[in-house]
Structure formats: structure tokens, C-alpha cells
Symmetry: C2
Subunit: 569 residues, 2 copies
Amino acid sequence: MAIASKWLAARFNKPDMKLFGFDVFALASDGDMQEGLSSEAASLAGHLKLNNLCWIWDNNQITIEGNVAWAMSEDLPTRFIAYGWNVLRVGDANDVEALTRAFLSFRREQERPTLIVVDSHIAWGAPTKQDSFHAHGTPLGDKEVTATKHIYDWPDEKFLVPEEVKKHFRIQMAEQGGVSRKEWDKMFATFQNTYPEEGKILQDMISGKLPEGWDSYCKPFPADAKGLATRQSSSECLNFIGKGVPWLLGGSADLATSCLTTLKGMDDFMPPGSQWGQYAGRNLHFGIREHAMGSIMNGLALCKLRPFGATFLVFSDYMRPPIRLSAIMETPCIFVFTHDSIGVGEDGPTHQPVEHLGSLRSIPGLAVFRPCDANECLEMWKFIMPLQDQPVAIILSRQALPTLDRQTFASAEGVHKGGYILADTSTNGAAPEVILMSTGSEVHLMVQAHQELAASGVKVRSVSFPSLEIFKQQSQEYIDAVLPNACRARVSIEASRRDSWGSLLGLDGEHVGMITFGLSAPIKKVQAELGMTVEAVMAAARRVMSGNPRKISSRAQVLKSWKKRKLSV
Amino acid sequence: MAIASKWLAARFNKPDMKLFGFDVFALASDGDMQEGLSSEAASLAGHLKLNNLCWIWDNNQITIEGNVAWAMSEDLPTRFIAYGWNVLRVGDANDVEALTRAFLSFRREQERPTLIVVDSHIAWGAPTKQDSFHAHGTPLGDKEVTATKHIYDWPDEKFLVPEEVKKHFRIQMAEQGGVSRKEWDKMFATFQNTYPEEGKILQDMISGKLPEGWDSYCKPFPADAKGLATRQSSSECLNFIGKGVPWLLGGSADLATSCLTTLKGMDDFMPPGSQWGQYAGRNLHFGIREHAMGSIMNGLALCKLRPFGATFLVFSDYMRPPIRLSAIMETPCIFVFTHDSIGVGEDGPTHQPVEHLGSLRSIPGLAVFRPCDANECLEMWKFIMPLQDQPVAIILSRQALPTLDRQTFASAEGVHKGGYILADTSTNGAAPEVILMSTGSEVHLMVQAHQELAASGVKVRSVSFPSLEIFKQQSQEYIDAVLPNACRARVSIEASRRDSWGSLLGLDGEHVGMITFGLSAPIKKVQAELGMTVEAVMAAARRVMSGNPRKISSRAQVLKSWKKRKLSV
């Protein structure tokens, strides 16, 4: 949020009209200070000279287990000085004067974020619970509360709010807020008159509306058997959209050159005095800090900006907590994950995601997209940009994928329904003999198998599923039309675990995908070794058509025999 | 690993026999220093006074995107001094004398871990690639390699290893290693003679064998309608096993009082001079550092110790990378996750896991257990302890669960098969009319629905699935006997997303579980509001028996209507 404040100020403020420049306060516990996330954030905040950020560390020395000293004895203020922070100390949380001085020092600070170390006592005044971990996770209890109020010299009434406090908050504070708001609105009205173009951009941004013609730079991709990696086509789309939506900004966790998420020709977001950029830049450098990246994206989105953030799919594990919070808070973050499968090849099992597609799809409200070619990419970007309250995860290939000829195959606009019939040889509404289902790079495996099956006279239907979540939101009529209940011979093809496919496959279908971790070898060899081949799809199709799908135990056998095997071939 | 070294030394070394005391070196990149994990680890290592740990920071100032200075400008050596580390600097990676001095300083250090800052140049000597990010992710290429060798004054041969180098590594180093090993074996033989009891423990530990009578402290739990939370029964089991297995050790990410993972009567693992414990203690305090906890567990397991580590299930997201690595490396880590569902109640959606069961099950080779009562807990602990190369995740309830009467229900030894028929009213091998499937706390919902269905004359079978992964490893005969293919009317009941159940439910079954995030309210209210009730199970059972399961679109509708709803009731 502090980054958003700096960006908005640099982008929109005028010498006589300071529309933006808000401060951000965070109350931090000992636990927050121990979590790695806070180190990532503090390091970056210092680097970016976010003098509008103030952390108040409630230094009470008590954790849930007991004593902070059982697990931490570092010199925390020095650590923050090392990050380039302004570190202040208030020796007693009840010393309002010292606190005020600290906040004034924060306000005066020109370059550094501020940490205020506030020494405090948990359950202050409670006669038997002060400074005890018993006050952390459980209520004090009526008796202790009464005794504490007695020590405070406070009436023993439940939920007592004195009149003057009510007046202060409900009337004086509300009035003050109302006045500030009116002043701001007036300034903004003047701004809109004086700078109509900028004013329009801001008005759209604030109301969550995309600018007129936001997608006018988008253009479809011609059919191309060689094609390009979806990380590349997505990169082109991002740049189309970036031109049309001025508040789209983001970056990567030090992988922009691999994830291809640079907004070309746009500045880098860098602190004042940097030779490489400025605060109005739209390309952020998060560093190798995925967890902080995801959290910062949420902060940007909460300030009405539209953030994207990229890393390899396998590293999505490092940032699951902020992805989950994005889904809970309904912030329209765009998480970009490239290098999406065993297609990564030589980097091996540690870098080959096999369980991540399923585990992202399991987060309620997160829409996961895995486009199969450049035009699915384009339609995906057109679909996701108008979403105002839904985060998306975009899953992209490292390797080149053909751009399908949409004269032969159905239009990529099917992306808007999450899943659509790409090719079908069953006629006149007759149910197909077998349904193939796939996403991303494996769609091209599916297409090859489709052609072989069709050539041998099988009535085959192939369905591309760029987003299972969006497909499931369609009408039941549409779902049944794509996947008629009568056709139980179904094969899903995806270089991932079976989880997300179980409810579409049923007991009679089969998944051609990953049972084990990956392997370290060139891509073709890895795919052959792990059964991600046309032959495997054909074999599965024949088994399900004959009502004899692979058994659960045989799948488990593969995993068992895998153990102790070498992880490279 | 440095912790393991300290523990082993404190536990087994004698004044005249120093069996353990190895040093641990890590080569760390700029990226490693930016990741939050390294901050967690460094803070804890300093606190624990791990003077046997040496990090060598390859300070080359280059990242994949380009320049470290784009994303980091902190004073890193000062940060490590704040952690309580011994910080040394070698100004030139090619200065072998300075490096040697640094390593000697590390060896002399009595209290602090050591960080050696080594200034270096990436692609040193490469005429056009030195100090460039182009040397990070892509090969130099033949021409540049030749030019670099020329600068080194080195013959331009591929894979040249001079004879004297071969001799040094293959003969001299091997000999030196052989001599050290023989000396150690001799010392260990003497140790075994002098301290036969300790020697036996060590011998078992090293060979991965459980001590004789390791489970002799285990005792079954009596039936009890009120029962106890599985976090409590698991705690008792952990303490039974802890007495029998001297190298079982672990702790929690500051949640021991909630996860109940303290080994009672055993010391805390604390640094020398601490008033609270010592290095031979078996209760570790990881602090609020889940990611480091998981990584440390891997290190302990790689050193032959048997580690457990606990936190709330929802925080498993913070430690997915080490859980995944545990599965890849096949380290027998025991991940304990309590507070396992919407049963958490008042803490609300941020603390209520709904997608975590599925996303953990999707990691290949990780066995996820969710016992339904105290005796399933006990059998689970008996099952997992002999596993030598498989990590497990144990999922436990916060709330009390009845201890089933095993006279009425099948024996909890069924746990060893991952899933087993708990109760069955179908007779003489006839297929049941409906199969109910469940895990953990929801088994008790299933049992109630079972009784109601049975009372109304339905042939119902109820299956408890403490571990889906272990069930899938059974023979196909067993799988078919538990879940006959002919019975398609199936209901799974689990307060989690549908993912892991799809392939057992098929297209005709139904999942009674979570579609959305949770709610903040007392447990009963949350369960009622989210449809985790006997009535909901009965309704689903009736629908699947009539061949009319809930449709995909109706599930999606729930999620859609959920949006913008309040997250508390």
C-alpha cells in the first residue's frame, strides 16, 4: 500500500494538487518479526525508500508458547537499521508523549521507512496474567477483568464506552473525516477540470472501470505450426493491455527475463535518486521474494491499482498465503506462473510442478487459466481484465506451442466459457464415443490423438479447458452439451496430478498425467519417460472405450515403483 | 543439520569419545539472502549459537533479472551481526589465502554461526559475459568458453581434468576419507563395548531400525462418547512413542500449547548457558517460522533423526516448499497439522483450512492421515513410525471427537490399509445401496447418518478413510471389496474441497464438504451454516440413491452467491 501511495503520487500529483501521499501504519507482533515474510518486506521497503511506511512493533516479549527469548535473541533494531530504516524506541506503550514524538519523527523522515519499537506488557495491569502467555490465546475471564479494571480505576461495567469517547469517535472524528473528504473531492474536481485526460483515467481507476478502448491494441495471432511459448504470447498480450490500461503494473520475483512480464518502453519503479527509474514506473522489481510479491500485489489491488506478479509455477508454493488472502479479500490480482510442467526439462523435479495446478485450483474463488496457444492467451486476457473481484492465476509454458488454425478448430472465444469443444467428429447431436479433455501444452497432444482416432473412424470429441473454474460456472445446459452424461468414456490429458479432473472423469474415465515427480532430462525424453505421449493418450482412449480404464491400484503401483528410482534419465 | 550435529554430540559424545560434532557449510547466493526463509534460519541459528554452521555468501551482485542493486541495498553484514553471527569478509573469491583465514576463524569461533562474505565475479574471466546476468541462466557458448580458457591460460580441451587433480580427488581424498571412516568405526566399536546401551541406540538409529519395544508404551483408548480432540489423543501417542524412540524429536512453530506436541518430561533444545534447556533436549522451539521449521526437519531427518514439527493446518501453506522437498528426498518427516477445518470456529476463514487437505494430498509420495478418533490416532502412529522413506502429514482436530466403541464398529487396525469398512448393513456380500466415505471429525457425522439410513432399512456401508494415499496402495481386490464398482451411489463427507474425492465419487456420487471459504462463528453455527450436518448427508444420500446427484453448476452457484457475502454469521 505504501508502494501504491508513492506510485499514485508520482503519477498524478501536480505541484499545486497533492491528490495522493497517504501514510501506511502496521501494528507488528513479535511473531510478525520472526516470519520470513516481514524480512522480505522490510528489506524491499528500505531499498525503495518508503518513508510513508511506519511499523509499530508491539515488543511485549511474549508468544503463544511462552517467551520470545526461547526462540529469538537477535538485535532487532540493528537489523532494521541494516535494512535502511529509521528506528525509534518508545520505552513504555503507555507513554503517549513519547509515542507522539515518535510519530512526528516518522512524519519528518524524508528517506527511510520507520520502525517504532514500543516496549509493552501483555495484559497490562491484569493482576495474575500480565506478562504471561496465558493472556495471548485465551480470554482473561470475568474475575481477572474485574480486578484489572479496578487497577485501572475504571468502572466495572461491561462494554462501557464513556460519552466523551463516543462523541470523539462518532462525531468529532466523523466530522473531521467528512471535511477531509470534501476537501479532497473539491481538489479532485478542480483536477478533473484542469487535467481532463488524467482526471478521466483516475475516475475510471477509482470506480473500477476499464478505460474506453482498453483492448484496442489487442490483435489476434495468425495460425503457426511452430508457434510460440504461451509465456511469449501472454507477454505480447500483457503489453497490448498495458498500453490500454494505465494503472496495470507489476513485475516478477527476479524472473522478468524468463517470465517475460516486462511492460516494454515503460519505466522501472525505483526510488528517488535511482539511475534506473522512478516512482511512476510500472515495472516493479520485487527481488527473489515471492511471498512479499504476493502480499504487495494485494496492497496495490486494495489501493485500486491492477497488479500482476510473476514467477515459475513451482515457486507458487512460496506465495500461497497471499494468493489465498487475495481469494478471501476478492482482490483482482493477476498471478502469472510460467515454466508450467515437466516441459521445464533439464532443471529437474525440483523445478517441475506436478501438483501445483491442482493445488491452486483448490483455492475457492481463484480462477486458474492455462491457455493452449497464443489466441487462447489473448481471449484469456480479454476475459480477466474486466473481473473486479476475482484473482486469477495464469499458467504458461516455457516451451513453444503451435498456434492452432482456427479455421480448422473452434474459435478461441470459447475461452470465455472456461471450456469449449475444440474439435468433434460426432454428428447431429449424437453423443461421441470418447471425449478427450485437456489444457495448455497438452492440448496439442490431444489434437494429435484426436486426428488419429478420427482417422480410424472413432467418433471423438476434444474439449479445451483453459479454465475449469470458469467452465463450472456455466449453465448446466452448456456443461451437459459439452460433456453429455451419457458419454462416460473420457480421457483427461494434463501433465499434472489427477485431482482436479476426478469429478469430470468419473469412475470410467482415465487421466493421462503425472503420478510421480518429474525427471531431469531434455523435454522430449522426459515426456516419453513419463508417458505424456500420443501413444499413451491413444491407449487410454481405447481402454475407456472398452469400459476397462486403468485401475486405482495400478496408478499407485507406478508411484510405489518410482520410489528409489533415479530422478534423472 | 547443524542442529542435528549439536544434538547428537550432546546426546552421545563422551569426554574421550567425540563421535559427533560435524560442521555444516552452505553456499548462498544473493537470491538466498533475499528469500524470507534465510532470515528465519539465520535468526534461529544465531539464537541457538550454532557455531558449527558456516554460510559462504557468493556476493557477485548479479541476479537473473540483472543487478542485485535493483531490488536490494541493505547492509547485509550488519544484518547478520544483528542476528548474532560472526561475519567475515573475503574481498576476492580467488584469494585462497584469505578464504583459508576465514575458514580458520570459523573453526575457532565458539559461540556464533559464521557468515563469510565472498566478493566474486560471475563468469570470471569471460571476456564479454563477466559480471553480466547473461551468465546466470544461459550457457556461455563455445566461443566464449574458449576465450575464457585463453584468459585463464588453460588448454582449450573439453572436460579436461589434469592427472594431478584426478589423483588428488580420486586417490588422496578417497584415502583420507577412508582413514577417517576407519578411525570413526573403531571409536564407535569401542563406544559400543564401553556403553552397550547407548551403542545399541545409535546402531539402531543409524540403520533406520526402531528400537525393540518401541511401541510397548502404547495403549488403546476406551470407548468414550465425549471423547477427546485428536490433537490430544495424538499428543498422548506422541508421548508413548517418544518414550520408546530416543531419537524422535521436534517441536512447533510457537504453537506447542495448541498443537500439544510437547514431549513431556523431556528437556528443551536450547543453547549452552540457557536457563531453559540444553543441546540434548528433544523439544525444539522453532519460533514463528514455519518455513524454517520444515527445512530444519529435513536436515534432522537427513542426519538420521526422526523429526516432527507442528503448526495449524492453515499455516501448512507457509511450509509447502520443504514439505515438497521432503517428498522428493524421501525423508521420513512427520508434519503435524492441528485445527484442521471449519471446526476452528471463531477464528474465521483466515484460520479455517478448506483447500489444504486436498493440496497436501496432491504432493506425490506424501501420505496424509486424518484420524477420526483416539484409536485411529494410535494405529496411525504405529503405522507411520516404521516408514523409513516417506513423509507423512497428520491432520488433527481442535475440537473433541467421540472415541468410537470398537465392539460396535470395526477395529481401528483398519488404519493400516488407509481405508476400511467401519460399519455395513448390506449382507452376504451383496453390494450396498449407498456407500458413505469420510475422514476425521466428519466420520462422526457419517456414523449418525449411517444409523438413520440403516434404521429406515437402507443397505448402507460406511467407510473410514484415515489415509486416501495408503488406501490406494492396497491390492485392487481389497479396493474393489471396500468400494464395489457396481455401487455408484456414493457420498463423501469431509469439511474440505471435493478434489481428492472426485476419483472415488465418480459422476454419480456427491461430496458433502466445502465449496467456499469458512465463516467466523461458534463451531455449531459454522457447521450448520455451511451444510456440514447429518441432514445434508442424508439429503445427499437420497439424491445419489435416486440417481440424481447435485449438478456441477449448482455447486458453482453456491460459490458465486457466496461472493460479497459476509464472512461471519
